[in-house]
């Protein structure tokens, strides 16, 4: 896995006004987490559970800031009831989700939540954008960020394993 599209993604998020990166560590977001951690104009927030990121981004919006939540598809399940806050409060929300349990998955434990992530989010009112090709990452991120910030939408970008690579663990 090279860092080319990941670095371009980080730059496009920063250009779009994102200053807060909340994350649960994940190999698919390694570059974004590392970049945010050394960016003096951004705040990287490590979370104990993904659900905290939903609250954190809502709180950041109340304070005039803009954040994104970086997580793996398994983390979607930890967030579900907190999506009530986003949906009922019409908070802008953007999550970047590195997928497990799809293309080429080798760990059977990852299949249920990987397959369930998208329908669960759609049931809670999030708009899901699946990205499978490196050249789509930056334009899709720009579109997702515009929908979140201009339309108070809740958007999830699903970075598929065809893009980020299937894991053997």
């Amino acid at each position: 896995m090279t860092g080319a599209w990941q670095d371009a993604l980080y730059d496009s998020l920063r250009d779009g006004g994102v200053t807060l990166f909340a994350y649960v560590p994940d190999a698919g977001h390694k570059v974004l987490i590392a970049r945010a951690g050394v960016d003096r104009d951004a705040i990287a927030v490590p979370l104990a559970s993904e659900q905290e990121g939903v609250g954190l981004l809502a709180g950041a919006h109340l304070g005039g800031g803009l954040g994104v939540l970086l997580m793996q598809s398994s983390g979607v399940g930890n967030c579900v009831n907190f999506f009530s806050l986003i949906r009922h409060g019409r908070f802008p929300f953007l999550a970047l989700i590195s997928m497990r349990g799809d293309f080429g998955e080798q760990n059977p434990w990852q299949l249920p939540m990987g397959q369930g992530a998208e329908p669960v989010m759609e049931a809670m009112g999030l708009r899901c954008m699946r990205v499978e090709r490196a050249e789509d990452v930056v334009p899709d991120a720009r579109a997702a960020l515009a929908m979140a910030t201009k339309s108070n939408a809740a958007v999830a970008m699903l970075l598929g394993q065809r893009l980020i690579g299937a894991k053997s663990f």
């Binding site: 905290e52 990121g53 809502a58 304070g63 005039g64 954040g67 009530s84 409060g89």
Partner: protein, 196 residues
């Protein structure tokens, strides 16, 4: 604790601890603490009160504190709400925002759902958990003579601050509050930022 031990009433202890609520940006947890804060602020625009998403209050407050470092942020929540999102206390300890104070109004029960005991009635110590999460400034308040120092810490100490207020089962103040989170969000941002 003797038979005549003082039991604090949230209706007087919470206002005494917070003082002038206008000095804070406030995130209120569910149910009882939301009513405490709504009553104290007149459902004011410097407060955003949850009506669901139980367990989110500390995380919302942390996001607000990180984006408003020049303002004092107060999370006021109950023991049940806090227990549902304990990991967030660890995240507060890691990020260590100097401007964040957490007030847990601990009556040891899920009062709104019928008064079932919570873990804090059964041996769980939220102040010890907060301390173990690396929160440096912890105050336990069980009697009225402990209110003064904790009130000072909530508004002025180098945070994060955690105050565990032990209260009895007296009901929170009867008050009306809005449950329209989108409207309350816009009002909060309008008051703070000048734009919804």
């Amino acid at each position: 604790m003797g038979a005549d031990a003082e039991v604090l009433d949230r209706k007087s202890a919470v206002p005494a601890l917070i003082g002038d609520p206008a000095d804070f940006l406030i995130i209120g947890g569910l149910a009882g603490t939301a009513r405490d804060i709504a009553h104290l602020t007149g459902d004011g625009d410097n407060a955003f009160l949850l009506g669901g998403a139980m367990g989110a209050a500390v995380s919302v407050g942390l996001g607000l504190a990180l984006t408003q470092p020049g303002r004092r942020v107060l999370v006021a929540t109950g023991d049940g709400e806090l227990l549902m999102g304990l990991g967030a206390l660890g995240t507060v300890g890691v990020m260590a925002p100097a401007n964040l104070s957490i007030l847990c109004v601990d009556n040891g029960h899920y009062q709104e759902t019928g008064g079932q005991p919570s873990h804090t009635s059964l041996g769980v110590d939220l102040a010890a958990i907060a301390q173990g999460c690396g929160i440096p400034n912890i105050h336990g308040v069980a009697t009225s003579d402990e209110i003064g120092a904790a009130a000072m810490a909530l508004r002025a100490a180098n945070g994060p601050v955690f105050v565990l207020l032990k209260v009895g089962m007296a009901a929170p103040p009867a008050t009306r509050r809005s449950f329209d989170a989108a409207a309350r969000k816009s009002a909060f941002r309008q008051a703070l930022l000048g734009a919804p």
